[in-house]
Symmetry: C2
Subunit: 223 residues, 2 copies
Amino acid sequence: MHNYPDILPPRGHAAKRQSIIDAAAAVFCREGFAGANIDLIAAEAGVSRQTVYNHHGDKDKLFNAVLREITERANARAFAILDTFPDQPVDLEADLVAFALRFNKNCIWCREGKSLRKLLLAEGERYPELFEVWRREGPGKIESALASRLARLAHAGYLDIDDPDIAARQFMALNNAELHLPSMFGKSLSEEETAAAARRAVRTFLRAFGRRVSRPAELPQEA
Amino acid sequence: MHNYPDILPPRGHAAKRQSIIDAAAAVFCREGFAGANIDLIAAEAGVSRQTVYNHHGDKDKLFNAVLREITERANARAFAILDTFPDQPVDLEADLVAFALRFNKNCIWCREGKSLRKLLLAEGERYPELFEVWRREGPGKIESALASRLARLAHAGYLDIDDPDIAARQFMALNNAELHLPSMFGKSLSEEETAAAARRAVRTFLRAFGRRVSRPAELPQEA
DNA sequence: GACGAATTAGACAAGGATGTCTAAAAAAAT
DNA sequence: ATTTTTTTAGACATCCTTGTCTAATTCGTC
């Protein structure tokens, strides 16, 4: 009787666990918590209802597991992308555009990111603790990490930034500017549109924070 | 039998209709469509369940009515605020900050705006047509109107803008940058925090789009 | 092949929600 | 004051969903 509860769910039934989580994420996201039907989740996962109950005891617990899992995955992705930030840019604008594009495609615009945002917004109040964790460990850390990168660029003379945290937040905001609306409903942007959005975001960001020859950036901004 | 179906719901039962819509909005927003309980809506509206069914036949129809009503109110508010845009600014930055602050407080940050965003995001896929209408008549028109105002400021020499539509969208995005996250769950910002957010947004916007050289001489605005 | 664990299909009770109906009460209009 | 309309409270049938239980079956492992 080797029931180490936290470690080995012994066999290839990890695959089932995974498919349950995935299906549950999809259904919860589509229908909301109350509207999600466990039979449907089971069917969509290719699993019997009883198995769902065996793996995660409760609808509530299942939702919890889903949120935890997606959050974790999304965070991992985001930090992986953040590690590709151009610390030593060759062409600052082009490198930032490429970075922004990577970030959008992998973190904001992807199915997981959208599901997570939607679930958190819709049901966040029901799980304030989970929500708080996400906010602290997710966006908070990410923005702070991005701020560090921006500060380094500024210190190296590429950017002119007062407060890196604000700059980071605004970088994200500009990036999202064109994606939020279409992302709400199914409408997906073409590769070209996404790239254009990133270009526009970075261009404005650099107009505001870049030390560029094309714009007189000598003027110190009065505090 | 004067039942002009569109005009006069004859008497002070318009008040009941209104309170039903309001309560329904609150409950739908809190619990989602599937989780919303008609008994609860009725109770919260101070009305019997039957009355709810009398006014709007169906849970679905009720939801529809709620969405339509909130959309309409939110749009009206937004356009009213837009009419206070500083077309002839005295102090450009201060005037833009004041405008941004008005917009945030009345359109984004207020209860109605938040409810609307949440409902649309959560249930938008169930009502693609309503959703599309909102997108076209709401944000689309608002951004376009703001773009016109910005273009006028640019033409008058206050701003340096290539594409007013993009500038408008980015103005909104910068404005939302700091509000979106806390707005998700109940956390409310203090007056001072909101003002600071607006100041930061406008400062960056002006760093990107402001004329660095000097204030323009007074210019007559042509209609 | 045989054993034990996991999975399955289906039945099942309990509870909750929707939407209808009815008769009584309240409000509005004449 | 009377008449008409709206509102109310509650009962009600129907359906759906959750979560449990059981017996049969599959799967992986020895």
